[in-house]
Symmetry: C2
Subunit: 161 residues, 2 copies
DNA sequence: GTATGGCCTGATACACTGTATCATACTACA
DNA sequence: TGTAGTATGATACAGTGTATCAGGCCATAC
């Protein structure tokens, strides 16, 4: 599972540490909330975190295949639903794919920066942006309850390279 | 979709005028640009404009059926690609559906206010929002080239009603 | 200890969304 | 008229997501 293709993040950071931290945070959070991070859900979360690029549900499904049984689509989607509900994973709407969140403490919807070159996605989670959108919508009489913000462009690394 | 979402609230506006204007603007624009707004593309645009709610590709496909021949999916998707390319239609990523644009003069990507009650969607196209997002992304070294902004909430009418 | 109820997973089948590919028809222009 | 480019028809398939029912696991109550 240490597929090199999954670790092409150009910053050369220690991604194993990202995964470890994400899993540990998830454990802690679920204990606090009385939510059950079952082995399956934990495994799905780990697979979502296999890189900083969004992962498709069927990619996850395929990689779960290594286990004894061959799970079916609902298995993955249910696990993803759980993880999303607890803020551990975000869905990238424009890609039909899923991305791990690295600060799931408070539930939120971030803003996503999608690099069209390397495919990496980073989350902004900027409160100014959130408030600006809320206000601009309110000026038009619209009460915004959830926000989807996804920007496509070039990340710092790919601009430099 | 819930029953409520299927209900178009009675804003009482003359929607036939919306459609007429949209089609006329499209005609003009395509002539200016040397683009060919063929009967099929015009019909698809008309169907997208059948309401202020995003329309699915297969909904369009179904309604095209009234014609002599029964078109296939690629027919609709190609027409939609053309319309999107010319800014006449936007794709709502979070709904896998398509919405007519009422100011397609300059190509743009707007911000969409999606009412979860009535399903109507209005476009903001606010330059402050656009610039704020560009700037915030740039602060993180990210060069944003396109933006997807979709807010879900309650429209003015549904809040009042 | 057993029963009950809730939650999690397995499994089948299907619905919805979008694309690859090749063939045919139409348009514009030389 | 011939030809190149564009638009549509048609078939088949790929990718994404859900409905539904059945079985398994675990905690609490009796
Ligand atoms: Zn990492
Ligand atoms: Zn990049
Ligand atoms: Zn209207
Ligand atoms: Zn509404």
């Amino acid at each position: 599972m240490t597929d090199a293709a999954l670790h092409i993040h150009p910053t050369g950071h220690d991604h194993a540490a990202c995964v470890d931290e994400a899993l540990e945070t998830a454990e802690t959070l679920c204990v606090e909330r009385g939510a059950r991070l079952t082995p399956l859900r934990r495994r799905v979360l780990e697979l979502v975190w296999s890189s900083h690029r969004p992962v498709g549900a069927y990619d996850i499904l395929g990689r779960l295949d290594g286990s004894a049984r061959k799970p079916a689509p609902p298995t993955v989607y249910r696990a993803l639903d759980f993880l999303i509900e607890h803020g551990l994973v975000h869905r990238i709407e424009s890609m039909n794919a899923y991305l791990g969140c690295n600060h799931p403490e408070q539930s939120h919807t971030g803003q996503f920066l999608i690099c069209r070159e390397c495919g990496n996605v980073t989350e902004m989670d900027d409160d100014d942006v959130r408030q600006t959108l809320r206000r601009k919508a309110a000026e038009r009489g619209f009460d915004a309850r959830s926000q989807t913000v996804e920007l496509v462009g070039l990340c710092a690394t790919c601009r430099a390279g």
